[in-house]
């Protein structure tokens, strides 16, 4: 690996789920209005925040995301009537699970943005990145060191096992 790459300062990665009708339009508006927000945010567009399966959030954390943001329409503004409220309930329940697992609440946040609120959404992205940055990498994808000597043993042949196991009786 290139030395420069290794020495690069830590940049958090935040996955933001957006809904097709409001928050994605807001992000789009931020783009066309040339409002800047950090490139650390990766957007995923779904039809509705109600489509956000908690599995997506867990998979994001397990795959190396440092933070996850759920965004969607304001209550009563949902294109699918009440699905954003269901998303809110899932968020509240998932938040409790993540907290119990030891993931800081700052890493999992939600935000409402209407299609006109590009400025607010960009500001929220910037704010979340700065909240997540001091927490450092979550590194959930990397498992702790589980007895690497035994990994090597897996390569051994039956004879080596026999020697090892004779000692046990």
């Amino acid at each position: 690996m290139n030395e420069d790459v290794k020495m690069a300062p830590y940049e958090p990665v935040v996955l933001a789920f957006t809904c097709n009708w409001c928050s994605y339009r807001a992000a789009d508006l931020a783009g066309t209005a040339r409002i800047k927000y950090p490139p650390n945010v990766r957007l995923v567009r779904l039809m509705c925040s109600g489509r956000i399966d908690p599995t997506f959030v867990l998979k994001a954390f397990a795959s190396g995301a440092d933070g996850v943001m759920m965004t969607g329409c304001w209550p009563a503004d949902c294109h699918y009537r009440v699905q954003n409220v269901k998303a809110l309930r899932r968020f509240e329940l998932l938040r409790r699970v993540l907290e119990q697992l030891g993931i800081e609440p700052e890493r999992f946040q939600r935000f409402y943005a209407s299609a006109a609120e590009g400025q607010q959404l960009a500001a929220e992205f910037s704010r979340m990145i700065e909240v997540v940055r001091p927490l450092g990498p979550l590194s959930w994808g990397r498992l702790p060191d589980v007895a690497p000597d035994l990994e090597a043993l897996g390569q051994d042949d039956a004879q080596a096992d026999l020697v090892a196991l004779e000692a046990v009786g």
Binding site: T55, P144, L165, E166
Partner: protein, 352 residues
């Protein structure tokens, strides 16, 4: 196959309670059919056997191995690898081997805290603060014990498995079916199920097996059985505000618990198509909460005081996140100094 024309059978328990072995023994007379067709070459729960005997067997010579229990220490891991190599068909048997089960809940706790609780908990008298170590030098020689690993792993997180059989423990009738099917397949009279598939269970959810009536659910307060008024015996438990894990749990058990008036606790693991049991169940529970204001939602969710225990009681180790941060960041407590010579004694985990 043995010289006497029987297939060779093994069963092992790693980090488990032994309930899976009991469930197999519960075959009663049918256990004789098992003995009729299989030579039991290794089964520590029911007969004496030495690991060295297994190691001396030719690779792939055990026709069928049922492996119960999770991988919690170096001995478990080594036996998993050994039995994988020696077995033609390796079945992850029971909830511990397939998804971690109750021992997997220790993945919420660092190994340090775990040992503190076990060795100096309220019921312990341990004035010398004795802890297990994987390597001890005594006048008579070196002693070795398996080392605890930081996380409990499921069998398929350590070695490839051919089939998964869920349940805590698997129901005896299902075991008989699976043994019958695998024997027929070994005889060439049936085809083996697809490699990696779930055997001895259904493909839907416990709700599908449950005969209670289901309607629209509006939960305004979750409650435990002793906190609720007498329940309607014919109506869905979740509809009556009891947190029942049926919606995410694989069928195959016969929905025994909900039909007896106790909520499903999810021991048969995730249903077909469910990646993460807890995520699916959490979605289902969030959908029946009858509130739209954050404060009201919070109040109702407070009725689930232990969310991880509710959603991951059996499946934490096999879930996407596999455990809590405390366990993931804990170091092996019994690591021995690097200067220790490394004899081929890895069974006892002291070769670091």
């Amino acid at each position: 196959m043995s010289v006497n024309g029987k297939y060779r059978f093994a069963m092992y328990w790693a980090a488990s309670c032994g309930g899976c072995d009991i469930s197999v023994i519960n075959l009663h007379e049918a256990i004789l059919d098992l003995a009729e067709r299989f030579d039991i070459v290794f089964w520590p729960a029911v007969m004496d056997a030495k690991y060295a005997d297994v190691a001396a067997m030719p690779d792939g010579s055990i026709d069928l191995t049922l492996f119960s229990g999770g991988i919690r220490n170096t001995e478990n891991a080594e036996l998993a690898r050994l039995l994988r190599r020696k077995s033609a068909i390796l079945v992850a048997f029971g909830s511990c081997a397939t998804e971690g089960c109750i021992p997997g809940l220790a993945n919420l706790t660092s190994t340090g805290d775990l040992l503190d609780l076990v060795y100096e908990g309220p019921s312990m008298d341990n004035p010398e603060h004795i802890r297990p170590v994987s390597h001890t030098t005594m006048p008579e020689g070196d002693l070795h014990l398996p080392a605890l690993e930081p996380l409990l792993r499921t069998l398929d997180q350590v070695v490839e498995v051919d089939y998964r059989m869920p349940g805590c423990p698997p129901e005896t009738e299902r075991i008989a079916e699976v043994l019958g099917l695998l024997t027929a397949a070994l005889d060439g009279k049936a085809t083996l199920p697809a490699r990696g598939s779930v055997v001895g269970a259904g493909h839907s959810t416990v709700c599908d097996e449950c005969r209670r009536d289901r309607g629209v659910k509006h939960v305004t307060a979750f409650g435990r059985l002793h906190e609720l008024p007498p329940l309607d015996p014919a109506l869905c438990l979740l509809e009556q505000s009891v947190p029942c894990n049926g919606p995410a749990t694989r069928d195959g058990c016969g929905a025994k618990c909900p039909l007896a008036g106790a909520p499903c606790i999810g021991c048969y693991g995730p249903a077909d198509g469910v990646v993460d049991f807890g995520a699916r169940l959490l979605s289902a529970f969030a959908s029946v909460v009858d509130a739209s204001e954050p404060a009201e939602i919070d109040r109702i969710l407070d009725g689930l005081p232990d969310p991880v225990g509710q959603f991951y009681r059996f499946s934490l180790a096999g879930s996407l996140l596999r455990g809590g941060r405390a366990a993931r960041t804990s170091q092996p407590p019994t690591a021995t100094p690097a200067t220790t010579p490394a004899p081929a004694m890895a069974t006892h985990g002291a070769t670091r």
